[in-house]
Amino acid sequence: MTQAEAAIERFRSGERFRPPASSFLGGEASGELLGQLGGALESEPGAVRVEIVKLLADLAWRADPSYGKGGRVIHDEATIHVLVKGGLAHVDVGRDAALEVLKTYVPAELLRPHGRALTADLQHAPDSTALHVIAKAKPPEASVLVRRLLATSRWSREESARVAAAALGDRAIEQEFIAAFASATDGRQKVHLAKVLGWIGTGGALQALAQQMRTGVVLEVPMALRRSARLDIIGALGYNFPDEVLLYESAIRSDADYARIEEWCERRFHVRWDRERPPFLTVQGFPIPVRP
């Protein structure tokens, strides 16, 4: 029994993938594993497909040079091809998982060669994550489809459809999101809108993110969490520049790390600051009470 066959049998029996892949597989991945998993990805039921996608993603990002630096990026084109071809073969939870991996871990320039397939997938089964993937890949051929979706009652008010439209060049929608982000003072809202601008990923959206690198907004859960919204702004920039190690959250440990990111923003987006950098904060820890 090959590694792939063994893994698929386990998934069929209800076992879930647990990282790392090498532990799950009981050794390093064999050369033919990807092809075999890709074949299964096209034919297995949804629940098994989800686990195959997770296994493929784990294999890919751990093998990626960025992983050792704290990143999670999939550059491997063969894996991306398998995720697009097999992952999107059926409309089910497996497809959702594949779209999520494509959106989160694959750089935009490596999605672009799959623009036609991604557009066809969106046309076949419109979905919020599929729209986010389209926003990231920005295939020109998707513009008409996204506009058509936006004209429907189902999608006209869906944020994901508006994100895709903005990413594909709708300046009015883009400006709405930018204005909302710039004026947001609530932590949850600011964090969410930072992600939205990251998904849009246009020059204007990225510049707006950079402009807010000195925001003092904090997402706060009383006595549990204080998280600087700057982390999410950096995350949104990192979504678009996955190879910039200085944007990895795990790399931010001091005020100097924030300063380096600001310098990068100045160089890249020509932004200037109209306020001082806020006091250092990444994630403030709160005590776990001693059991009474």
Binding site: R18, P19, T129, A224
Partner: protein, 666 residues
């Protein structure tokens, strides 16, 4: 039940004994009576079709002189060549204004080309004076189907069309629930009183007066029944029941409301509703009855549940909520009391794009499949309904569709082999097992944890060899930073250590006799977690316990009180700069999350803490006052749920709905 072929509607009267008014392919004859006195109108019956039709309608010229009998009629024939019942007929009325005339009638034919029973007929009423028979109206079956069950529109007759005095009209009402013959109106006979005795019946129908009545009433719900006399007539209605499980409202109207009590019927049809109808001026008809069932439908958590079920604790009858992953399915347990099976009901969502209910099983208890649509976050109500026309609602529950929230974390059990006291009690903590346990709770909110077991890490962190991880509040300190920097991951990290000492460091040394302490400014205003009056231990060459009398959070100065050791409230010993005030904590949120074994006696204290702290860090959930919730503000819970139900926050006013609050925007 009537069928069109077999029960072609009676199309009217025979004309002086020649033609048949029903039957197969019988052509009606023609007769025109022009004589005087007490004559009935003639009629023409013509079947132009070629199949097995019932009798066609007829045309008659009415009698036009005085004191005559019935008017004529026009029968529209069945002309489509199919197997319909007979068409109706139009009768021209006696128009002389005098007495004792019969009305005419118009019959609309079945024209849709199907095999229905005969259509009805309309009678034009007599417009003169007294004692005339009125016309009748018959409605055809027009739905173009071939069925004979379930109620196409039957014929009805107008008042007085039955019993015209000599020459009056006669009609057969449509059969309720079938496509059998509609009420046709034919032409009056020529002479003499009708030989038949007038017979009324009453039927119990659905509230529209047509459909088969629903016989299942929800507990606490309502069912409507209607009494329909045939032929239609005015009269009084008296509905009654001896059942204690139902109550009737509007019991003296044609339509009664049957209210189900709170108790289900012991068996199917156990409750009897009786109707006594008394036509105006007549004796009461024999009672008619219908057996109904009070049913209770309960939705509950299924053993086959894929995601979540929140029964809302149900103090105010709040409807439960089922959660389900977008594009996925779940199951909900359905239990029906009253002798009703699941397949007698349907399970319908208000918004079928959000979710769809499956089919019920032919059993009183089963697991209902619920399929979710492709929404990231959406809600719809799923109702159990009767399959009948009236569709009374039984129970309902909400379906909440969510995009999956994945919470990734890397878990390392950390010790320092150079400091034996750091050896873990639960070094073999089964991370995979805890991932599974947490997910049995997280899945309710359509969230999953994915814990990477990073094993037992030997890190030289116990720099002062005291057996503790020394942690400066706020997430720093040399010992903590060693671990933080060696254990690097791109996701949320969790470390488990044997012992933990959390410290606030003095900014300035304190001398014996001092009554104030000054701490590092970085703890203020938000990071100094002691409260006024709390007791703490201050390190130093000689550590001492003191009470924090007053904390000034803007200046970082803490007024101390060491009573009763020192009645003057002053330090008994010197404490150099860098001495730490020990804060009692079992761990810290942040990144990495620090979990200490401490006095834990089993893995549960540690594993559930993973879930709680990840709830803060990745789901942004607050501490709540809810002892069965994983986010309860203190540990030792009997259960570890995530809820849709609004739960009171512990540290801030207000409540929160955990399912809804979880961000789904990764």
């Amino acid at each position: 039940m009537a069928t069109g072929e077999e029960d072609g509607a009676l199309s009217g009267f025979e004309d002086e004994g020649d033609s048949e008014s029903e039957g197969e392919g019988t052509a009606g004859g023609a007769a025109v009576d022009t004589g005087e006195g007490e004559d009935g109108g003639g009629g023409m019956f013509g079947d132009f079709g070629d199949e097995d039709d019932g009798g066609g309608g007829g045309t008659g010229s009415g009698d036009t002189d005085d004191d005559d009998g019935g008017g004529g009629g026009t029968g529209s024939d069945d002309t489509d060549g199919d197997d319909d019942g007979g068409g109706g007929g139009t009768g021209s009325d006696d128009t002389d204004g005098d007495d004792d005339d019969g009305g005419g009638g118009t019959g609309s034919d079945d024209t849709d080309g199907d095999d229905d029973g005969g259509g009805g007929g309309t009678g034009s009423g007599e417009t003169g004076d007294d004692d005339d028979g009125d016309g009748g109206t018959g409605l055809d079956d027009t739905d173009d189907d071939d069925d004979d069950i379930g109620g196409d529109t039957p014929g009805t007759t107008g008042p007085g069309s039955i019993w015209g005095v000599p020459g009056g009209l006669w009609s057969v009402p449509g059969t309720i629930g079938g496509d059998g013959g509609g009420g046709d109106i034919g032409i009056g006979t020529t002479i003499g009183p009708c030989p038949f005795k007038k017979i009324y019946t009453v039927t119990i129908t659905g509230p529209d007066g047509i459909t088969i009545p629903c016989t299942i009433v929800p507990a606490g719900g309502r069912l409507r029944l209607r009494g329909v006399p045939q032929p239609p007539t005015s009269g009084t209605y008296q509905w009654s029941t001896t059942s204690g499980r139902i109550a009737l409202a509007n019991a003296y109207a044609d339509t009664v409301d049957v209210w189900g009590g709170q108790t289900a019927s012991p068996s199917r049809g156990a409750e009897t509703v009786q109707l006594v109808f008394t036509p105006s001026g007549e004796a009461p008809l024999a009672p008619v009855t219908i057996n109904v069932t009070v049913a209770i439908v309960r939705f509950s958590e299924s053993q086959l549940l894929s995601w979540g079920w929140d029964d809302m604790d149900n103090p105010n009858g709040e409807l439960p909520h089922a959660s389900v992953l977008k594009s996925d399915k779940t199951r909900v347990r359905v239990s029906i009391e009253g002798g009703v099976n699941g397949d007698e009901l349907k399970y319908v969502c208000d918004d079928p794009s959000v979710a769809l209910g499956g089919n019920g099983a032919a059993a009183p208890a089963f697991d209902l499949s619920v399929s979710a649509g492709g929404y990231d976050s959406a809600e719809t109500l799923l109702r159990a309904k009767c399959k009948c026309e009236d569709e009374p609602d039984f129970s309902a529950f909400y379906v909440n569709v969510y995009k999956l929230k994945v919470v990734e974390a890397a878990v390392a059990k950390v010790w320092d082999s150079a400091s034996p006291a750091t050896a873990l009690k639960f070094g073999g903590l089964n991370v995979a097992g805890w991932e599974f346990k947490l997910n049995t709770k997280y899945k309710a909110a359509v969230a999953v944890t994915q814990l990477e077991d990073c094993g037992l890490l030997d890190i030289r962190y116990d720099l002062n060899n005291d057996g503790y991880l020394t942690y400066e509040v706020g997430g720093s300190g040399p010992e903590f930073e060693v671990i933080r920097d060696e254990f690097r991951r791109s996701c949320q990290r969790i470390i488990v250590v044997r012992n933990l000492q959390s410290l606030y460091y003095l900014d300035k040394g304190a001398k014996q006799g001092d009554s104030e302490l000054t701490f590092r400014s970085k703890y203020f205003p938000d990071g100094f977690y002691f409260k006024n009056g709390q007791t703490a231990t201050l390190q130093g060459p000689t550590q001492e316990t003191l009470r924090l009398k007053q904390i000034n959070r803007s200046s970082g100065v803490v007024t101390i009180d060491v009573t009763p050791i020192n009645p003057e409230g002053r330090l008994l010993h010197d404490h150099p700069e860098g001495s730490g005030l020990i804060f009692p904590a079992a761990g810290w949120s942040g990144d990495p999350i620090v979990v200490t074994e401490g006095e834990a006696t089993d893995e549960g204290d540690i594993g559930w803490t993973f879930g709680h702290e990840l709830g803060h860090s990745k789901l942004f959930l607050a501490d709540v006052d809810a002892p069965t919730d994983i986010m309860n503000y203190c540990r030792g819970n009997p259960d570890h749920r995530l809820r849709y139900k609004l739960l009171p926050r512990h540290y801030k006013s207000g409540t929160e709905n955990q399912w809804q609050l979880i961000p789904r925007d990764d």
